[in-house]
Amino acid sequence: MSRVAREKPGPLEYHRRWPLQLIVGATFFFLYFPLIILMVFSFNDSRRNIVWQGFTFDYYEKVFKNAELIEAFGNSLTIAFFCTIISVILGALTAVMLWRFRFPGKTAVEGAMALPIVVPEICMGVAMLVFFAKIMPWPSGMPWPLNLGAIIIAHVSFAFPFVATVVRARLASFNRELEEAAKDLGASEWRTFWDVLVPHMQPGLIAGALLAFTLSLDDFVITFFTAGPDTITFPVKVYSMLRFSVTPEVNAASTILIVVTVALTAIGLHLQNQSENKKLKP
C-alpha cells in the first residue's frame, strides 16, 4: 500500500469510509445484478428460467424468427430515428429563440416547454390517448412510416424539451463577440448562424440527439397508450410477451435492446470526443 492511501480519509473522501462504501456497493449491486442475471439467463437452455441448465443461442434464434417482434423492433428504430431528427431541429430552434430574443410571454413559453419534463408520464400517455382517439384520430392503414405518425408526434412532444434544455445550457457559454466578428468580416445573419452558432451548439446537439433517441427507443408508457394494433413497438411487444410468461426469449429480446442502446450511446459519445479532440490536436 502506498503512503498516501494509509493516511486518514479527508472530510470529503467518502469513498474511503466503510458506511458509504457499503451504500455505493449496494447501489451497484441492485443496479447491475438484475441486468446481468437478465443477460445471463437469455443463454439458459431452459424454459423455466430459474436454474442454469446449459448454454444455448436458441432463444436468440427464436427472437429473430419472431416476425412480430422483429417488426416491433423495426417500428421502434424508425420512430426513434424520426423522433430524434425532429426533436433536435425543434429543440435547437426553441433554445436559440429563448436565448436570443426577448418577447412578450417568454416566461410562459419557457414554463410550457419544461412541462413535458415534469408532467407524470402516465398523464401524458392518457392525454395522448384521449387526443388521438377522440379529437384527432390518426388515419389507420397509412403506408410506412406514416402509420407511425401518432407515436412519433407523441415522442417528439416529450423529447424535444430535453434537447432544448441541453442546447440552451450550451448556448449560455457562447461569446457574443464571435457572432459580431463573423458579421464584421462580411457574413450575413444566416452565414453567421451556420458558421459560428451551430458549431458552438454541436456538443449540445449530439447530447440532445442521444437523449431523444434513447428516450424514444425505450419509452413504454406513452407509446402504450398511443400505439394501435398494427403499430406495436419493441417495449410494448416485450410487455405483451411477458403477460404469458417470462421466457428466455424475453430475456434475449431485452438483451438486444440493451446492447443496441449502449452501442448507439457509445458511438455518439465517441463522435463527440473525436470532434473535441480534433480541436485539440492538429
Binding site: N175, E177, L185, G186, K278
Partner: protein
C-alpha cells in the same frame, strides 16, 4: 530653442493624410435614460493611429461600435470616407474590428480564421491562400496556419485576430482594448509592434483604451472622453502638457492641483493666489480668464525640483526667489522607491501634500533625502498649466 510654451515636437507622421476618413457629426447614443455618448463631433484623418481614451463607462466602446455598425446612433450622423453609413449593416462597412476577447473562431484552424472574411467576399481560392499567408507573415505567425486557436497563447491569438481583420484591407481598423488581456511584458512588446504594423500597412487605426500610458505611447492623436462627452482631442504631448480641464489633467498622468483665484493677468505674466501654497503662483504667460475668477494650477510631479533646506532658514518670499521660479517650503513625509525613480510626498506649510519624482541617476543617492527632512520645492514659471474648468 523653441518657445517653452509650445508643445514638444510630435512624432513624425508622414503617412497621415489631410482628408478626414471618419467624421462623427453630433453623435448621441442613449440607452433608455443613460446617455452613453453625448453630442460628439470628431474627425479622424486617414493614416492616423487614433486612441479613444477614458475611464470605464465613458462611452468609448459605444462610439467604436457605432463605427463598426453594431450600434445605431440615437442622433447624428457617421461618415466613413465621406459616405453616410447609417444604412450600412456591419458586414457591408469598409471597417474591420479586433474584439476585446479576440473572438477567434475556436472551431476553425488559424488559416481558416484568417480566410473567413475573404471567403465571405467571394475572393477566389488561390488568391485567398496567398493573402492569408501574407497576412500571417505580417503578424509574425508564418507557419501557424494549421494550428487550432486553443493551441495558441493569448498574444498569438490576438495576432490571429489582427491578421483576420487586416487581410480584408479595410479602410479603418478598430481595436477595442487590444492589449488589456496581455501581461505587462507582452503588452509593452505588442505596443511597439502595433505601431510598426500600422506604419507598414498605412491603414487608419482607431484604438479604445482606458490605459493612458498606452494611448500616449502608441497614438498619433487621442480623444479623451468623460461621461459620453469629448473632453479634449490632441496629440499625446499636448494632452499631457496642455490639458484643457481638470479632468484631462488628472486622468492623463499624475498631477498636483491647486485651487486659487486669478489675481493678475497681463500679456507676459499672471499671478494666482491660493490658500494651499504659502506664496502666490507666478506664471510667465498670460491666462485668458476674468480677474478674480477661480482657476486651478496643475503641476506635474516631474516638473518640481527638490532642494535641501537648512533647518531654521526662513521661508523664502516670492520676491527673493530666482527669476522665473516659484519656491515653497515643505517637509518630506513619504518616500516610495520604485527602482527607476523615487516618489516623494512633501507636506507643505498649509498641510497640503505634494508629489514629486526623482530619477535614480546613481546607485547611491548622493543627496540622501530622508523622512521628515525639510526641503525647498521649486518649479519654473512656465511649468504649471492653468485650468479654467
Amino acid at each position: 530653442m523653441t518657445d517653452l510654451a509650445t508643445a514638444p515636437a510630435a512624432k513624425p507622421t508622414p503617412h497621415v493624410k489631410e482628408n478626414a476618413i471618419i467624421r462623427f457629426e453630433n453623435i448621441t447614443k442613449r440607452y433608455g435614460k443613460v446617455v452613453a455618448v453625448d453630442n460628439v463631433n470628431l474627425e479622424i484623418r486617414e493614416g492616423e493611429f487614433f486612441a479613444l481614451l477614458g475611464p470605464s463607462g465613458c462611452g468609448k466602446t459605444t462610439l467604436l461600435r457605432m463605427l463598426a455598425g453594431f450600434e445605431t446612433p440615437t442622433e447624428g450622423r457617421v461618415f466613413i470616407d465621406g459616405k453616410d453609413v447609417a444604412e450600412l449593416p456591419p458586414n457591408k462597412r469598409p471597417v474591420n474590428m479586433v474584439f476585446q476577447s479576440y473572438a477567434v473562431f475556436p472551431h476553425m484552424k488559424v488559416a481558416d480564421n484568417v480566410a473567413y472574411g475573404l471567403k465571405m467576399d467571394g475572393v477566389d481560392g488561390g488568391e485567398i491562400k496567398r493573402r492569408v499567408e501574407e497576412a500571417l507573415e505580417l503578424v509574425k505567425l508564418g507557419g501557424y496556419g494549421d494550428r487550432m486557436p486553443d493551441q495558441l497563447s493569448g498574444g498569438q491569438r490576438q495576432r490571429v485576430a489582427l491578421a483576420r481583420a487586416l487581410v480584408k484591407r479595410p479602410r479603418v481598423l478598430l481595436l477595442d482594448e487590444p492589449l488589456s488581456a496581455l501581461d505587462a511584458k507582452l503588452r509593452d512588446q505588442m505596443r511597439s509592434e502595433l505601431t510598426s504594423l500600422q506604419e507598414k500597412v498605412g491603414i487608419t487605426f482607431i484604438m479604445v483604451t482606458h490605459d493612458q500610458d498606452e494611448a500616449l505611447a502608441i497614438a498619433t492623436r487621442c480623444a479623451v472622453m468623460n461621461r459620453g462627452l469629448l473632453a479634449q482631442v490632441a496629440t499625446p504631448a499636448d494632452l499631457y502638457e496642455f490639458p484643457n480641464s481638470r479632468f484631462v489633467a488628472d486622468f492623463v498622468g499624475s498631477v498636483n492641483m491647486f485651487e486659487g483665484v486669478l489675481d493678475k493677468d497681463e500679456q507676459d505674466h499672471a499671478i494666482v493666489r491660493t490658500q494651499e501654497l504659502s506664496a502666490p503662483v507666478y506664471l510667465d504667460h498670460g491666462v485668458t480668464g476674468a480677474k478674480g475668477s477661480t482657476v486651478w494650477v496643475a503641476l506635474r510631479p516631474e516638473k518640481i525640483e527638490m532642494h535641501k533646506r537648512p533647518e531654521g532658514s526662513s521661508p523664502m518670499k516670492m520676491e527673493d526667489a530666482p527669476a522665473g521660479t516659484n519656491v515653497v517650503a515643505g517637509v518630506i513625509r513619504d518616500i516610495v522607491y520604485l527602482g527607476s525613480e523615487t516618489i516623494f510626498e512633501i507636506e507643505l506649510e498649509s498641510g497640503r501634500r505634494v508629489r514629486t519624482f526623482r530619477s535614480n541617476l546613481t546607485r547611491y543617492d548622493q543627496e540622501d533625502f530622508t523622512w521628515d527632512e525639510p526641503v525647498w520645492l521649486a518649479w519654473h514659471a512656465c511649468s504649471p498649466a492653468v485650468l479654467l474648468s
